[in-house]
Amino acid sequence: MRDAMIRIDEKSALPIYEQIVHRIKELISRGMLQPEEKMPSVRELAARLLVNPNTVAKAYQELERQGVIVSVRGKGVFVARPASSPGMLQERLSRLRADLGRLMVEAHHLGVSRTQIKDWVEEEIERYWRDGDAGGSSSSQVD
C-alpha cells in the first residue's frame, strides 16, 4: 500500500478511526487493495499517517468486525476475500445508492420528466429482476 493512499482530513466531521475504515473500504472497492493482499501493521500505518496507534487499532478492529480484513496469527493482517466480506457488501451497496442518487440529480437537471425516468427504471427492472427474485447472490437492506 503506497503512502498517498490514505489521507486524514482534519476538518472532517468523521472521527479519525472512521475515516480510516472508510478509506480502506473505498480502496478495496476501487481495486487499489486486492483481496488477500497484506495490509500494513497497526504500527506501520500509525507511523505513516502520524496518528495514534490506538486509533489505528480501533479502525482495524472495526474492519475486522465487518469482515473486511482478516488477521492471521503470526503473519499479519490481510484484505478478506470478497465472498466472506459482508462489510464490503454494505460498502458497495452504499456506493450504489449514492451513485443512483447522483444519476437522479443529473436527470432532473437535464429536465428528464417524472414519467420518463420511471419508464427507464421499469425497463431496467424488467431486464434484470425476473419473477420478483431478489437478484444477485445476496440480499440486504440499504438505509
Binding site: A13, P15, I16, A47, L50, V51, N52, P53
Partner: protein, 295 residues
Amino acid sequence: MLAVRHLHKSIERRPVLKDVSFELRPGMVAGLIGRNGAGKTTLLKTMAGIYDPDAGDVLLEGESVHRQPEIKREIVFLPDNPEALFGYTAEECARLYALIYPRFDRAAFDEMIRRFGLPANRKIRQLSRGMKMLASISLGIATRASYVLLDEPTNGIDPIAKQQVLTLLVEAVSEGMTLLIASHAMGDLERLSDMILMIRQGEVETREIADPARGEAVKLQVVFDGEAPAAWLASPQVIVLEHVGRVYTLLVSREDGDAKLEELRRMRPLVLEELPLGLEDLFVWKHGGRNDEDR
C-alpha cells in the same frame, strides 16, 4: 499509572496550579493545551520533580515522585530547549544517559540518529533547532522510560523535522510508552492524543479527544435571512469564529440549555449547518473567544 493528585503550586505568590488532578494510563497519549503562561511548563516540571509542589502528590504506581526520586527512572522530561545537553555531542549524551537510565537502549538511539542524519560527533549546541529536538527526543525515547513528558516538541522547527518528531512519537506509543505532550499544535494533538488536558487559570480539565466539547457547545455555519442579529451575536453564549461575507461560523454554548439555539432556529436562517468541533475550537471557546476576554 502516573497519577497527579490535588497538586497546588504557586510561583512568586501567584497560584499557577490549583488543585490539579488527573491520571495517565499506560500506553496513552495526553495532550496538554493552554495559553502561554497558563502553567503547562510548571505542571510538567512539577511532575518531573524539578519543582516541589506546595501541596498534593505526583504518584507513579503509588510512589511519590518527590519523596522517592529513584522511581523517576520511569519518567523522562524533555524541555522545549534542551540546554543541558548543549555542551555534549550526541555520542556523549548517549553515554551519559546510559549511566542514568538502566534500560537505556543504545542501539535504538544510534538507529534513530542515523535515520535522521544527525551527526554523532557535533556538539548539540551547533545543530539546528529541529535537529536539537530530534536528538533530545531520541534520547528520551531510548531511555525506555514508561512516561515521557514533552514540552512543545514541535515548536519552531521546520516541517520536515516536525514530521520526523511526530514519527518518533508515534513509534514510542507503539512501544507502549505513555506520552504527555504540551503543545500549541492542535492539529497534531488531535491526531495523536487519546485525551486532552486543558489548563486555564490554574485548573486542569480532562476531555476525551473523541468528544472534546462534551456536548457543551456546538459549532455552526450560519447564513442569516436579512440582517445579522447584532444583539444575539453579541450575547455571551455566542462566539463568532469567522465572518466571511454573509457566512458566519459560530460557537454556541449549550451549558445553560438550548435557549440560544432555539432563538437561532426561530430566526429561520438560510443556512444552519452543524460542523465538527475540533480542538482549536474548544480552545477558543474556553478562552471566551478571540478577543482575550475571560469567561
